[in-house]
Point group: C2
């Protein structure tokens, strides 16, 4: 293996120059650990191609030599999906040099971005032509298009625009044998067999390397209304969502926040204060948008919330009166994780259940977890309208050093069992990576797992694509 | 093979009763030929399960005995996708007894339909709860959900709502090893590895049998505007579409019709007359809808078309003043194929190219085909906004008996070459089936084809699922 990896590094440097394979420890170091510091791996080099042709040549060579590759974009995986194996057998494969926006067509509402394009940059480029790429999430300043595709990323605007799966019009992919699949023409209809594009979305780099994506754009937001509502429980929150959806199709953000999650943010994050005067057990952050300047969603949201208060769905609500107020409301949502970390250790579970079942599930799961793990506090926030919440279990004030390592795995299995019994998913939007691999193997229906493994073995028979992740 | 098939028939009858395996010639006969009479096959029986459990048991047994199965829904394939092989080695596998609508939830905008549910019945059931399943097409009275999923069907409302791929929230599938994949919970977010659902959509029954689908519903149409416009050329038609899309998101049908296509309908179909007084080289049928009773799309479409006439995009236009007039306009669109058949033999090509390229492609392809095949007339109609047209080549008045058999394959290859050179698809919405199998093998990029074959071999190693179709 050592010889083969060295040979690959040398060949790549000879053919594509010194930049194409970095072996300097200082250059490697930041990419050997995931951003939260939970996983650490080893690798002798980062291969860093500058074009699809270089990717294809390197993958072909890696296949011939039997050297596994770990594709990496912004290294923002929540599940160790971009961290190499600890034994140093694989090389990192960075797409960051491939960061061109190849095309942006406002008429056709399409952009073609290389894998290394950073999400925030795509947002800016789309805005410059009067369009918007609607998917967004906390890591937008560093996550890349290739990673977003490979993890079928979600985020806060899924309610209206879907996950990456709904936003990808076509992919360019280097398959594990080095062949280039080119689906970038952005055909809206194409029924020539199984969709290679769809198979690669969410494959976490285990079936090939996404080198570019044709992405759908939508009209730019001209005006938005951002509101905050206090509700009695998650059931009321879901009824509020249905109440609004029946009356408008402009709601694109609908985030549930627990009262204690808000309290932590107020306690720990400077400048954050509660948007409402009274205390509420649960809160909802709502965003409605308009793509035309002549429609102001603010009065509409005010009216809808007024009706909801009258109907007893909402206890109290406020609508941001300025863009600054709107940003302040979103800042609360975006700081929940940070506030939680400041409070102490916790375990994080990215789960989904059918939307209608989520209110009941939340209440029951919280009670079950807190009973099974005395002293813990279960809390939740996230994308109620998608049936996807970040269900977190905090250690509690008495927790001792090493709590996460000691209690984490047991809590994870407990929560995953509850989710599975509820017909839900143990990974709604973060993927499997290395963190949830054992849980997937434990809980996936055997027939499904056999199909996933068969696909992996068929397309990557040498096992060179992102070893140790998903079913690899 | 004979013994094995007999054994399978006997076992199925013993376990599941005589209805589960019909061998009567009269019962078999209609299903041995495709509806257009282009393909004919042989089979000794139709297996006809009544439940998912029966499907799983029969598929498992067929796999053990090595007897291939040909899944069949409404038998409305355009490419021989549901017609068994001529050698009689396979059994038909009808999903028609599985025709229950298992659930319909207006709040969640979801229906769960078994594979044998007929599209028109789903339309009716959704309407009864104030919702709509938006996909529709000519064969709606006989095509089934299983077939629509398995061919990733399109139709006339794709512009706004997408193909089946966008409307499937989850699938129940019996995999070739007899395992049941259950994706019906309709999770909006689920990142547990490669999407088996997406892989089965458009797989034409070659990777397993779709037994049920969770399908997205949308609000019912309260009011609609249907309009007809005469335009100079396809480029003007596409500009008209962009003109409308910039001003409203309510356009859901936008069908291009050539002047000579309309003339054939007027000539051959009783009761059809041209909607406009003057002559126009090209026509567009437009439908805009409103989901609320308080918005009437008719004045909006009138205004938009008025502006388009002033801008020189449209030569003349009319908006239906009643539901009867609206239906009459759609009747013209729906009778184009019948009119063409009345005129004489023709070849049909279901093609797509990138939307922006379609106007130029159409003009150039028509000229190229008519030059290469003297006496023919190339014409087109269909879904311009999706980049998908039905490009048809008529024999011309002088054509002699046997024209289709003699000239068809050469014309098909010629058109497929043009489409491929233009970066398009030789099958936009009809699939590959047996009709386009050789063309797929000839024209698909070798790397893509290798991936499709690897997936097929991995999931169906015994080759029992719909042999002779796609890459099977």
């Amino acid at each position: 293996m050592t010889d083969a990896a060295d040979r690959l590094i040398r060949d790549v440097q000879e053919r594509f120059g010194p930049k194409a394979a970095l072996t300097d420890r200082a250059a490697l170091e930041p990419w050997l650990t995931d951003w939260r510091g939970r996983f650490r791996g080893e690798a002798r080099a980062i291969l860093s191609p500058a074009s699809t042709e270089e990717v294809a040549a390197m993958v072909h060579l890696a296949g011939r030599l039997g050297v596994p590759l770990v594709p990496q974009g912004g290294n923002t995986s929540m599940v160790g999906g971009a961290t190499p194996p600890a034994d140093g057998s694989a090389l990192l494969f960075s797409l960051r040099r491939m960061n061109r926006l190849r095309a942006i067509d406002a008429d056709a509402n399409l952009a073609v971005a290389e894998a290394g394009v950073i999400l925030a940059d795509l947002h800016d480029r789309a805005a410059a032509v009067g369009r918007r790429f609607p998917l967004t999430l906390g890591a937008r300043g560093s996550c890349t298009i290739g990673g977003l595709v490979s993890t079928n990323a979600g985020g806060t605007q899924v309610l209206r625009f879907g996950t990456m799966r709904a936003l990808v019009a076509g992919l360019e992919v280097v398959l594990p044998d080095g062949a280039v699949h080119n689906g970038l023409s952005g055909l809206k209809k194409d029924n020539r067999g199984y969709s290679i594009d769809q198979l690669l979305i969410g494959a976490e780099g285990t079936l090939g390397i996404v080198t570019a994506a044709a992405l759908r754009l939508v009209p730019a937001v001209q005006r938005r209304a951002v509101a905050w509502a206090g509700v009695a429980d998650p059931g009321a929150a879901l009824k509020l969502l249905r109440h609004m959806e029946e009356r408008t199709d402009r709601v694109e953000g609908f985030e549930l926040i627990s009262g204690d999650g808000l309290a932590l943010a107020v306690d720990h994050i400077p400048g954050i204060r509660s948007p409402l005067n009274g205390r509420h057990a649960w809160h909802v952050l709502i965003e409605a948008t308009s793509a035309t300047a002549d429609f102001d969603p603010v009065p509409m949201v005010q009216d809808l919330l007024g009706d909801a208060i009258e109907a007893g769905l909402v206890e109290d609500a406020t609508v941001a009166a300025s863009e600054a107020q709107a940003a302040a409301l979103w800042r609360i949502r975006d700081s929940l994780s940070e506030a939680e970390r400041a409070e102490g250790p916790s375990t994080a579970h990215d789960i989904s259940v059918p939307v209608a079942d989520m209110p009941r599930f939340l209440i029951e799961a919280k009670a079950a977890v807190e009973a099974a793990f005395p002293g813990t506090v279960a809390s939740a926030f996230g994308h109620l309208g998608d049936g996807n919440l970040h269900f977190h279990v905090r250690a509690g004030r008495q927790a001792r050093e090493g709590w996460t390592a000691r209690e984490g795995p047991g809590i994870e299995r407990f929560v995953d069992d509850l989710v599975t019994q509820a017909g839900g998913s143990i990974s709604a939007e973060h993927g499997i990576g290395q963190m949830k691999r054992a849980e997937l193997a434990r809980l996936a229906p055997p027939g499904d797992l056999a199909a996933l493994c068969a696909i992996k073995a068929a397309l990557d028979p040498r096992g060179i694509m992102n070893p140790g992740k998903l079913v690899g």
